[in-house]
């Protein structure tokens, strides 16, 4: 892959690394916010307007997390090419992909539950005849989804640790990601 460097820094690789890390960081924070919000959403004792407001926030966060989920794999693949890390022959990366595969399965499990709380809360606000049943459904969906969200959170932390422990940084570097003279002198792959 052609390199575009400024002051010895590989711009494409560093930008992909930064975007990848930023996306994962955002995903972690947003998953935590979703977990924190769900307590009020599933609680019938909390005022309905507050529950709906929180469900709106959760729904918005879900959409952002969905875009992050969609972009993480292609950006990760592009990063592996840009950094010269072989995609299928690097052992630690293969295990990281296994963990991401579990996240994909978790996402498929969560898709049917996504947005159900907001729909049910709006129906309760409109005055349906069975609010207790809808409240039970909200609680059931939330109690089903949150352990999966928690699992995703743990997997992202493990994957981040795996990446950081295997991060290729040149020895004797002055700054992170700045190439050493020895590495610049290396013949191109």
């Amino acid at each position: 892959m052609p390199e575009f460097q400024i002051f010895g820094i590989d711009v494409v690789k560093t930008m992909l690394q930064g975007t990848h890390a930023l996306m994962v960081g955002t995903w972690l924070v947003f998953d935590f916010v979703v977990y924190w919000l769900h307590f009020d959403i599933k609680n019938p004792a909390v005022p309905l307007t507050r529950r709906i407001e929180r469900a709106h926030v959760m729904h918005g966060i879900d959409r952002v997390v969905a875009y992050i989920f969609i972009l993480t794999l292609p950006i990760g693949i592009a990063l592996s090419y840009a950094s010269g890390t072989a995609l299928f022959t690097t052992n630690w990366l293969n295990w990281k992909h296994v963990l991401y595969g579990v996240i994909v399965v978790a996402a498929l499990v969560l898709i049917p539950v996504s947005g159900s709380a907001l729909r049910n809360l709006k129906a309760i606000q409109e005055g349906v005849s069975n609010p207790d049943e809808l409240n039970r459904q909200i609680k059931r969906d939330m109690n089903f989804a949150m352990p999966v969200v928690f699992l995703v959170w743990i997997l992202i932390i493990v994957m981040s640790a795996l990446s950081l422990l295997n991060l290729e940084t040149p020895e004797d570097q002055e700054y992170i990601f700045r190439k050493t003279g020895a590495e610049i002198a290396k013949p191109a792959r």
Binding site: R63, Y67, L73, T89, H97, G101, V104, A107, L108
Partner: protein, 61 residues
């Protein structure tokens, strides 16, 4: 609606890319547990998502 399309396209095509790439690597270099798990997980997701994506495309058409 765009997000639904993108989601299933990622699951199906990303799953195919990762799953088939893992199979190809195992065919060249022999069995590896991580690659085998990748094949199972990603191809499984791609096969699960394929009918949903087809249904989504044809339903829209």
């Amino acid at each position: 609606m765009l997000i639904v399309y993108l989601l299933w396209i990622t699951v199906v095509f990303g799953g195919m890319f990762m799953g088939l790439g893992s199979i190809r690597e195992m065919a060249q270099s022999g069995f590896d547990p991580a690659l085998a798990l990748n094949t199972f997980l990603y191809l499984g997701c791609a096969l699960y998502g394929m009918p949903k994506l087809i249904k989504l495309v044809f339903k829209r058409g």
